[in-house]
């Protein structure tokens, strides 16, 4: 049989399993059917219920406008899948092409897509995390619980961590007229993602809206009352604060533990893959049948020196899923690379924040348009003299222009495209709190001496 015949047969009668039934998984399934895949499709997901959308959880849902159960994703077509929901996958056997489920079942496949995303990083002391009134926000259930707690009119909310999710929650508390304290270890909100200059703007925004923002401090201990309800938090500077609700917004943990013995290059930074979304093994070999998409993927980007980058961005999950699905049912010569410049949005304190590119891949930043004090501007990021990213505050219509600058490696600082450029546009160091190790990998050790036995094994104990 020729390889074209083999591909046709696979498209007609093959078996595809998708592990992780959320945004990336659903979009990939739809794309597979749109590409003419008529074989069997199995959707494996540990959450119960249909795939739903997460961004509204920290926005529309927490304001009380939309119920948590109301963010089910629309479907563009019937995907005619077998759904195995409410049970996690706990292993992947590359030798026999099987997914193991935690309940003992085995799902055979010809090709598999892994889109298991990330989960919320819980509070580090389990007994404190279990107190009533302590929340994380990743799932519908989380958002539902938190929205109820906010509706009950708490005397104060403590948000731990001022990244995007934490800042959005602080914003909603103020919208609902709830006193809120935000604790952030870094010198300002959003610095980890956008650097010190934007961090200062974010601090201004929070304080202008009445947030009690405390930076450079660590929350050390969450204290409960006799009924097991959260009541007080202790800080590293010795101070305390009384509150009824604590939201732990310390980012996510990639769901790769279940791949521990699979031989894939999976670790705390995600699962390494090529731009065609094919997973890499620990040895750095590209697999034929294992694909990855969404928050759990670590994909090289030629624009960013081929570094493996993992993103927790909605649009990335959608686009990567479509590329992965296409490549799963295409011949070598017809495969697509996932080369889209990343984009991200957030809505907080009435301001539309958007970014294009990878702001952490930068050494300098400059305001190119608008006015920082008015919270209406664009800032461009540069790395060694070329434009690598841009962030807009209430100025999103310009981002396409900056995307083109990034794609054409335009010189940094770029000329201001409009007369509204600030007079003193001078680049400043981007100043991230710690070096962003975008390329940090799973810890591995090389074993064997002959080419036939030389292999890399994971050293998970170093995590």
């Amino acid at each position: 049989m020729s390889s074209a015949d083999t591909l046709q047969a696979f498209k007609r009668d093959g078996r595809i399993a998708i592990v992780g039934a959320s945004l990336a998984g659903l979009r990939a399934a739809e794309a597979l059917r749109a590409e003419g895949f008529t074989g069997s499709l199995t959707m494996i997901g540990d959450e119960v219920g249909e795939p739903y959308d997460r961004p509204p959880l920290s926005k529309q849902v927490l304001t009380g406008w939309v119920p948590a159960g109301g963010t089910t994703l629309p479907r563009r077509r019937d995907i005619d899948a077998e759904w195995l929901l409410g049970v996690p996958a706990d292993g992947l056997d590359l030798a026999t092409n099987h997914v193991h489920l935690a309940d003992g079942r085995e799902v055979p496949f010809d090709r598999v897509l892994i889109s298991t995303g990330v989960r919320a990083r819980p509070w580090f002391v389990e007994s404190e995390a279990d107190l009533d009134g302590v929340f994380v926000v990743r799932t519908r259930e989380h958002a539902d619980g938190l929205q109820r707690a906010l509706a009950a009119g708490p005397s104060r909310v403590l948000v731990i961590g001022a990244g995007f999710t934490g800042s959005e929650i602080a914003s909603i508390c103020r919208e609902r007229d709830i006193p809120v304290t935000v604790a952030e270890l870094a010198p300002a909100p959003l610095v980890g993602a956008l650097g010190a200059m934007i961090g200062e703007v974010a601090s201004d925004m929070q304080r202008a809206h009445g947030v009690d923002l405390r930076c450079g401090v660590k929350v050390t201990h969450l204290e409960g009352d006799a009924q097991g309800h959260f009541r007080r938090a202790h800080f590293s500077d010795g101070s305390t604060i009384d509150a009824d609700v604590a939201v732990v917004a310390l980012g996510g943990i990639r769901n790769t533990d279940w791949l521990r013995d699979s031989g894939l290059a999976a670790g705390v930074w995600g699962i390494a893959c090529d731009t065609g979304c094919r997973a890499l093994t620990l040895d750095g070999l590209i697999t034929d049948d294992i694909f990855v998409a969404g928050d759990v993927a670590r994909c090289p980007n030629p624009i960013y020196e081929y570094r493996l980058i993992s993103l927790e961005h909605w649009a990335n999950a959608v686009e990567q899923a479509e590329v992965a699905a296409h490549n799963m049912v295409s011949a070598q010569a017809d495969r697509w690379p996932h080369l889209t410049i990343p984009t991200f949005w957030s809505i907080q304190f009435g301001v539309n924040i958007k970014s294009v590119g990878v702001p952490t891949f930068a050494d300098e930043v400059v305001v190119t348009q608008g006015s920082v004090p008015d919270h209406r501007f664009v800032a461009a990021y540069g790395y060694q003299g070329r434009v690598t990213a841009a962030v807009s505050f209430n100025n999103a219509k310009w981002l396409d222009h900056y995307r083109q600058l990034i794609e054409t490696a335009a010189p940094f600082p770029p000329p201001c495209p409009t007369p509204d450029g600030p007079a003193d546009a001078k680049p400043v160091p981007v100043d991230f709190p710690s070096p962003q190790l975008l390329a940090q990998g799973a810890t591995v050790v090389v074993t064997g001496h002959d080419p036939s036995e030389r292999r890399v094994t994971a050293a998970w104990q170093h995590r």
């Binding site: 019937d78 949005w345 958007k354």
Partner: protein, 75 residues
């Protein structure tokens, strides 16, 4: 009915908020907020908004009779 807006594409032109104000509204100067499950009674308006969006950023459920996924039997 189910709706999702690709907010990385949306440029806040507000056409949708004009055509289907119960489902789409502006938050601040240029951020769009939308109801992901607008009432079926609003279907016509929402479809008109989706068609009018210059960025084609609004995706509406195409499934009339949805095949709800079945939950795995507990083991």
């Amino acid at each position: 009915m189910k709706v999702v807006v690709d907010l990385s594409r949306c440029q806040g032109y507000a056409q949708c908020a004009f055509l289907a104000p119960d489902a789409f509204r502006m938050h601040g100067e240029e951020a769009l907020m939308y109801n992901p499950t607008p009432d079926d009674a609003q279907r016509e308006q929402v479809l008109r908004a989706a068609a009018a969006c210059p960025l084609q950023a609004i995706l509406v459920d195409q499934l009339e009779e949805r095949d709800a996924p079945v939950q795995a039997p507990p083991s």
